[in-house]
């Protein structure tokens, strides 16, 4: 047998901290339209999970119904998915995390799936602070049924058919902040850097992360008159902060100016740095966040950034005070009380 010499610099494919390659985080081939913003979001999720070194087998990907909710098929095939019913991903995700609180849950929904049919479950998920990364892939229209308005469509936005939306939008970020989500932001599927940093911070956060990602529908909502088109978003985007993320496992000492940057230490010790582009913005102040979001609507801005973050609030699964081992796999000896317990119960009823 000959000796194989390995040249320096050709040490095989690059791996992350748990020894997996980016291929290990890939999904099936997308069946969405070419240029769909959703595909870019799937790519960012793959990168973020890879770079954070998350074990794919411990990730679950529940989703609802719609174009957005199909995307769990296009990333992380080594993770369990549950493509459930329309507007009800939230409850399925909640149940799964009750069964196994150790899972990392990335729930994918759309604007119709969340703000229209799913708004009931959405608001209750937010108030529980369930540990989930809830992503709305937000294009303002129903794609699979060929382009009707959803409840996030802006006032005055125009459909391809010329129909003008005459109702105000539901701002899912404002709702989430008001109701108790502890990490709320908006991004744009075309902003690779910002979305990546926000997703990595989301993975580090223990509590409800609600990210509304504006993701243009190239087929039904990318025309003149739409407020969710690539062109409109690029022209009207107002970036609140420059978002950067330093994971706990990277021993990097980043210099920053405390006057110009808000530094947030996450649950696992990683750091979120928000370099202020608006001087007086404080992402720990709910009232300020809601005021700024209202201003953005009045001015016709597409405001992006981390609007609100609170890494200290207890998550829903913490509050339930469950045993450490997932409920799903508890042995019978812990889930079926002994004969003496039944005897005692019977005695009380005599």
């Amino acid at each position: 047998m000959s000796t194989t010499t390995v040249e320096p610099g050709s040490a095989g494919p690059k791996t992350n901290r748990i020894g997996l390659t980016v291929i290990d985080y890939k999904g099936g081939k997308t069946t969405l339209c070419a240029g769909c913003g959703h595909n870019a979001i799937s790519e960012r999720i793959i990168e973020a999970m890879y770079e954070m070194g998350v074990e794919p087998e411990f990730v679950i990907k529940p989703s609802g119904i719609g174009c957005s909710s199909k995307t769990p098929a296009y990333f992380m095939s080594r993770s369990h998915s549950f493509n459930a019913v329309h507007g009800r991903m939230a409850s399925v995700a909640t149940g799964a995390l009750l069964a196994n609180h150790k899972l990392i849950c990335i729930g994918v929904s759309g604007d119709g799936d969340t703000a229209s049919i799913g708004v009931g479950q959405f608001v209750h998920l937010m108030r529980r602070n369930l540990p989930i990364i809830y992503i709305i892939e937000d294009n303002g229209v129903y794609g699979l049924t060929k382009g009707q308005f959803s409840a996030t469509a802006d006032l005055g936005s125009k459909l391809k058919t010329g129909v003008v939306n005459d109702l105000p939008p539901i701002d899912t970020c404002a709702l989430a902040i008001q109701l108790g989500a502890t990490f709320v932001g908006r991004s744009f599927s075309g902003d690779k850097r910002q979305l990546s940093a926000m997703l990595k911070a989301a993975i580090a956060h223990k509590g409800t992360v609600m990210l509304d990602v504006v993701s243009p529908c190239v087929t039904f909502n990318d025309h003149e008159g739409s407020t969710k088109s690539y062109k409109y978003v690029k022209e009207h985007e107002e970036i609140l902060q420059e978002v950067s993320f330093i994971p706990a496992f990277e021993e990097i000492d980043v210099q920053y100016d405390p006057g110009a940057t808000v530094a947030v230490t996450m649950h696992d010790g990683s750091r979120l740095h928000l370099r202020k582009l608006e001087e007086d913005y404080d992402p720990t102040d709910k009232i300020r966040a809601l005021t700024r979001l209202t201003e953005a609507h009045d001015k016709g801005e597409v405001l992006t950034g981390v609007f609100y973050v609170n890494p200290k609030a207890p998550s829903f699964t913490d509050m339930l005070n469950m045993v450490d081992q997932p409920l799903a796999t508890l042995p019978d000896s812990l889930t079926r009380p002994p004969q003496e317990v039944l005897d005692a119960c019977m005695e009380e009823l005599r």
């Binding site: 074990e55 409850s91 479950q121 796999t329 019978d332």
Partner: protein, 612 residues
């Protein structure tokens, strides 16, 4: 309204010449929110403690305070504990309904009333007793605001005296009822004693009814079906409960919370369960399904309106093949219907709940003991068959007090079904989620969090092939639906078998289920004793129907299907299963009044259909 929907059938009581021992129903007519529940429980327990078989049924309004409510206690030496139509002893505490309550009694019945109501003027064929409650209460209860509550304990004492219930047993029952509140116990005991003494000194017993000591309740317990189900679920290894309050199911989960806090929290203070009150029934079932998918033994409890809301998710669980247990404590529909009255009205819609070709396993308990034992059956079947299992209880069973033998400790092991572990996957290399490897229609599943690269599959409510991949191919769809059907056929051999009771060479069969059982048993005796009609009886305990059901129908010329709904729902389900020549043998006895089905109604209808 009065709850005795009867035309008097002739005298059952008398005015002192005959003695009727341990066979009567006592009805207390009162106003809800007046605290009469404690008094009624004491009365029930005292009779029970004297060894006489007894049952208690609460007929209450969908209201918190101020509307009429009736509590009926039936004592019966033969062990008949179903509802009896006729009331033998009325305790008229509610001025609003007193006249109607008295007018609907059969001649010979006794009436105990508050003196100022002067009910004795209404009829001359009843036995009347009057008691000056306010005077008696004032003497024993100095605190004016407690008098309303204590007043009810006075009638307990009076009834005890008039029906010869022993005062020692009343005391024992009061001590149990107010176990930790000695002061309350003493006050109530004084009130009962005042009633007893007043009756002894002032009332001459003229009614025919007596309670005498027997030995038929030794070792037995008294419990409602919802509490029994809660206990059953705890011992079935349930780990996740998600629910939305709805009458008459709420007490199932509320009792379960109490039991789980007591017995399923470890010494370290950590819980081996999660119980979450959801925002609605849609979320409750969504959580059940999410938890079942991720490996928990999960459940919810609801009633008809909740079942309707859960329809879409039920189809998802059927098609994705996710386990979960749903307790349906049936009440009267359609729509809001009568939320506090009982029915068996969800049978047909639950069997096929959701759109498309969907079928569900249903278990049907008739007793509190079955509420307990079927809990383990339900969780095991749900995980073995990777599907929802509906336990079809009802308000009568769930919310009323029933006498029972103590529940046996479950001998059935906790069965988790076909779940592949990391080691299995190491050995197999991979798996196809919906492949029928064993020929029983049931595939193998993995749980999220299984540390193997081939563990994941894509659970989806959209069309899929054996590998759980999205597919719109006709053959994939058809194969999958046929396999699901095969799985349902397999379930026929695993669900609880029916209980068959044979008569003497009977040509007539009766099929019943759930709480109809109690009326049917008594009716069969009436049919034999009064009409010389022999019957065989099959009590269904599950859907899909097992082989025994077909055989039973084949063995009888006519089969009466007795149930508590309008549209003969179980009979309709049977028709879907039976050979055409057997369908014509079925007759329907379907009752829907909101009150538990009584024996006399069955007997009357069956004999009339038999031309008697």
């Amino acid at each position: 309204m009065a709850t005795t929907d009867v035309v008097p059938r002739g005298s059952t009581g008398s005015t002192g010449r005959t003695r009727i021992v341990n066979d009567m129903s006592i009805q207390v007519a009162t106003v809800n929110g007046s605290g009469s529940q404690s008094s009624n429980t004491v009365l029930l327990r005292s009779i029970f403690q004297m060894g006489v078989p007894v049952s208690g049924k609460n007929m209450f309004p969908s209201n918190i305070a101020g509307l009429p409510t009736w509590y009926t206690i039936r004592a019966n030496k033969n062990g008949y504990i179903g509802r009896k139509k006729e009331i033998d002893f009325l305790v008229a505490m509610n001025p609003e309904t007193a006249t109607e309550d008295v007018m609907s009694l059969a001649p010979g019945a006794s009436v105990l009333y508050d003196e100022p109501l002067a009910l004795h003027k209404l009829r001359n064929d009843l036995v009347f007793y009057s008691v000056p409650y306010d005077k008696l209460v004032a003497a024993v209860c100095p605190e004016a605001k407690l008098r309303k509550l204590v007043k009810n304990m006075v009638y307990v004492g009076v009834v005890a005296n008039l029906l010869t219930i022993e005062m020692e047993e009343i005391e024992k029952a009061i001590r149990k009822q107010f176990a930790k509140k000695v002061k309350a116990a003493n006050l109530n005991l004084a009130a009962a004693q005042a009633g007893f003494d007043y009756a002894k000194a002032n009332l001459e017993k003229r009614g025919a009814f007596y309670i005498e000591r027997m030995n038929e309740t030794a070792g037995k317990i008294i419990i409602d079906g919802n509490s029994a189900a809660a206990l059953g679920c705890m011992f079935a290894g349930c780990t996740v409960v998600t629910w939305y309050p709805i009458t008459p199911s709420s007490s199932l989960v509320e009792t379960m919370i109490e039991y789980m806090k007591e017995y399923r929290i470890g010494p370290d203070g950590k819980a081996t369960f999660a119980i979450v009150q959801a925002e609605d029934e849609l979320a409750a079932i969504g959580m059940v399904i999410g938890a079942g998918w991720a490996g928990a033994r999960s459940m919810t409890a609801t009633a008809g309106p909740g079942i309707s809301l859960m329809s879409e998710f039920a189809g998802l669980a059927y098609y994705v093949e996710v386990p979960g247990v749903i307790w349906d404590i049936q009440r009267v529909g359609p729509s809001t219907g009568l939320p506090t009255r009982t029915s068996q009205g969800d049978i047909l819609s639950t069997a096929v709940l959701s759109h498309g070709d969907t079928k569900h396993i249903m278990l049907i308990p008739c007793s509190v003991e079955e509420c307990f034992t079927m809990a383990t059956d339900a969780f095991n079947l749900a995980e073995q068959f990777q599907t929802l299992v509906f336990v079809m209880s009802d308000l009568d069973l769930g919310m009323n007090n029933w006498m029972s033998d103590p529940f046996p400790y479950p001998t059935t092991p906790i069965k988790r079904g076909k779940v592949l572990s990391k080691e299995d996957l190491d050995r197999l290399g991979g798996f196809a989620r919906y492949q029928d490897v064993d020929g029983d229609g049931i595939g193998y599943r993995t749980l999220p969090g299984t540390p193997h690269p081939a563990a994941a599959y894509f659970a989806r409510g959209s069309g899929h092939n054996e590998k759980a991949q999205y597919s719109e191919r006709a053959d994939d769809f058809e194969n999958n639906m046929e396999r699901l059907n095969r799985k349902f056929e397999t379930a026929r051999s695993f669900v609880p078998r029916p209980e068959v009771t044979k008569g003497n060479n009977a040509r007539i069969g009766i099929i019943g289920y759930g709480t109809s059982h109690w009326g049917i048993g008594e009716s069969r005796d009436q049919l034999r004793d009064e009409y010389k009609i022999e019957t065989d009886y099959l009590r269904l305990r599950a859907y899909p129907f097992t082989r025994e059901v077909h055989e039973f129908i084949e063995q009888h010329e006519r089969v009466y299907v007795v149930e508590q709904n309008r549209d003969a729902q179980m009979l309709s389900l049977l028709k879907l299963d039976l050979k055409p020549e057997l369908i014509t043998r079925l007759r329907s006895i379907a009752h829907i009044t909101g009150l538990p089905l009584d024996a006399r109604s069955i007997t009357d209808e069956l004999t009339s259909m038999e031309g008697k």
